[in-house]
Symmetry: none
């Protein structure tokens, strides 16, 4: 029986509520013996930890450093090696663009082409404002090609996103981008017969864009890569019988949540605003994904102390979440982002799981930290198994077999 079949068979709906708090990039590495999480003063988390199960989860596999896409899929209960999210999709999600079923998207660059060869793949990194002006202009001029609707969205600097909507589109199209300067822009080439129409539309777009951009120096052409359709993912409702909602401030995480069928709730920019959103909608859903970005951002910046501060800020707000008395409350990361590495890492995620049905350590006093998690009662596990664990603790999984 496949994993998907198993959960479709045993998942049941009930009124119990699960709150999954993801402090992005939570896991860290020790400086002076203690990690960011262990350095942070977190009386509320520590007290909760003593009444919870702790463990460490591998987002994708041992030694594998994940991007945000696979790391979140895993937390949502989807095997990240099975469900591959194309680069174009992630780029679209990152600027808040939804890509519907059957639609094809890709990442675009505004570029400079001289004598038929790419001379600057980023057209001198034009400003985002200039980018917006160009996109407004192009959108007005190219609305449809061959019955396929063309949508364009500005990104940062030289980047944009193209979305094709129409019948019979195929995303198995080679990059329209030589990847390096000094080469011509290749035509869009379909990898399969079924992609000929898409390739034709893409080529027509590239040619028309080039004509239209003649007076936008240094921009005079486009490069396109990472053609992708939305992955064919069963929804969390279908798989786990959940009514899930997402609370996140950054577009990519809102987009990832939407991919698996979560309702994305409007919210503010701060952690306090996110928790207020949770409170307001607490009656409407039975699964909440609450995403905190800044732990990762500071980790990426290599700023140990600032990451510690974000964790401490979350700790002061935690009582507002526990006051809702969720049946299952999990606090974890999607991956580690140790300030020492100033980037995502392979180290497993600290996991805290609270429910009425946990086995805490009797003598637990070490609080919530990587070391305590390494000897926690959840042990080491794959992050994709966190979802069944949350469902089980919410009594949302029937017995398997008799």
């Amino acid at each position: 029986m496949s994993r998907e079949e198993l959960f479709k068979n045993i998942a049941v709906q009930n009124d119990r509520k699960i709150v999954l708090v993801v402090l992005d990039g939570l896991g860290g590495l020790p400086v002076a013996g203690l990690s960011e999480l262990e350095t942070a003063k977190t009386p509320n988390l520590d007290s909760l930890a003593a009444r919870s199960e702790l463990g460490l989860s591998h987002p994708v596999g041992i030694g594998i450093t994940p991007g945000s896409g696979p790391a979140h899929l895993s937390l949502f209960g989807y095997d990240p090696l099975r469900y591959d999210i194309g680069r174009g999709i992630l780029e679209a999600l990152g600027i808040g663009v939804e890509v519907g079923a059957g639609e094809v998207t890709c990442r675009g660059n505004f570029a400079t082409i001289s004598d038929g060869l790419v001379s600057d793949r980023r057209a001198g990194r034009i400003s985002s404002e200039r980018n917006s002006e160009i996109i407004v202009f192009l959108k007005d001029k190219i609305k449809e090609i061959d019955g396929v609707k063309i949508s364009l969205y500005s990104g940062e600097e030289h980047r944009f996103v193209l979305v094709l909507q129409g019948q019979g589109l195929d995303d198995r199209i080679a990059d329209v981008d030589p990847g390096i300067v000094g080469k011509p822009v290749p035509d869009a080439a379909a990898e399969f017969e079924s992609g000929h129409k898409t390739a034709r539309v893409v080529n027509e777009f590239v040619v028309r864009a080039r004509d239209l951009l003649a007076s936008f120096h240094p921009v005079n052409g486009v490069l396109l890569r990472g053609f992708a359709k939305s992955p064919d993912i069963p929804s969390m409702a279908e798989l786990f019988k959940l009514r899930p909602a997402a609370i996140a401030t950054y577009p990519m995480y809102r987009g990832l949540a939407r991919l698996v069928g979560m309702t994305v709730l409007p919210t503010g920019k701060t952690m306090a605003a996110e928790i207020e959103t949770l409170r307001q909608h607490y009656g409407d859903f039975d699964f909440f994904f609450l995403h905190v970005k800044k732990t990762d951002s500071w980790g990426e910046d290599g700023n140990f102390d600032a990451k510690v501060k974000v964790i401490e800020e979350f700790d002061t707000l935690l009582p507002e979440i526990t006051a809702l008395n969720p049946d299952v409350l999990v606090v974890t990361g999607d991956h580690s982002t140790p300030a020492q590495l100033a980037g995502h890492s392979w180290h497993p995620n600290p996991v805290l799981l609270h429910s009425p049905f946990v086995r805490p350590k009797p003598e637990a006093s070490a609080g919530f930290g990587e070391s305590a998690c390494a000897v926690g009662t959840l042990g080491f596990f794959q992050a994709v198994d966190l979802m069944p664990l949350m469902l089980a603790n919410a009594l949302k999984l029937k017995k398997y077999g008799a």
Copy 2:
């Protein structure tokens, strides 16, 4: 995405160096409360352990006692259940014989045959010297059959290795060995059409050998079994983008390393000589497999104290390795060989991993031993995942997904 595809996609080359020390059969069982490793006085390992991650690895799977072949494949990052090494190949490796691509090898016995029936499968366990004389004689008389080159190599006592080199050979040939006395020697039989030529050559060899051995009483025939080709294994360079070297005193381990594309360095018979080899070639490679055999040998002999002594000897030499300042240093076993069992066992391997990016236990003072590893920050894992972990700690793996 398969494991192989994943690593081909994310592995990158850099100058960081990994040293993997395998103390063969390291893991043990307690006598008077402490295992061999825990009994050994190992101040250097203990001090390193306090700054390292510890864990326990399963060579093949929980409860599975591995042979040296699968146990090492696993340490080299290859799924030992996927890559099967034929007995003939291991026998050949064990006496230092290389088997090239497309070649077929098998294990041979010199035997006694009476009235057409096998009367002694080992011809009275003739001496290795006598074996050598017979092999010299046979090699001179049988050099080629039907365009296939015949190579013969002496083993211990009655054992030898046969290698066939030529076009269109097939290793799916039934054993030319009844397995018990009192039965006739079966003809070589191909399991598939494609094996007819190989079977014909093998049969011709068996008949000619029998004629030639008439005057070598008690030897007057040969038995052949375990026909095998070299497994089709992607090299460590191909899979992990490593430039790997092996330092090992025993032929089998040198052969196993060669199977996965390691450069096998000439070295001496002692641990000190092996470490000297490591030092001399330290600039030439980025991955070193250093194999110490005697821990296993004494374990196999059931000699607890002698195994302890070998571990202590390694400990006194450890500073010569750490002086090289490898970016990643791992000390582990390929499998456990508890003196109590006088053989390989299923108990997981103690693992010590040192790098700049580890999460040691803050309060660690238990040194390096099975009990400390059972509550270490690496947890329990499959030995095949040690390679990704080493690569990650050497910053040799890119992020998976965006």
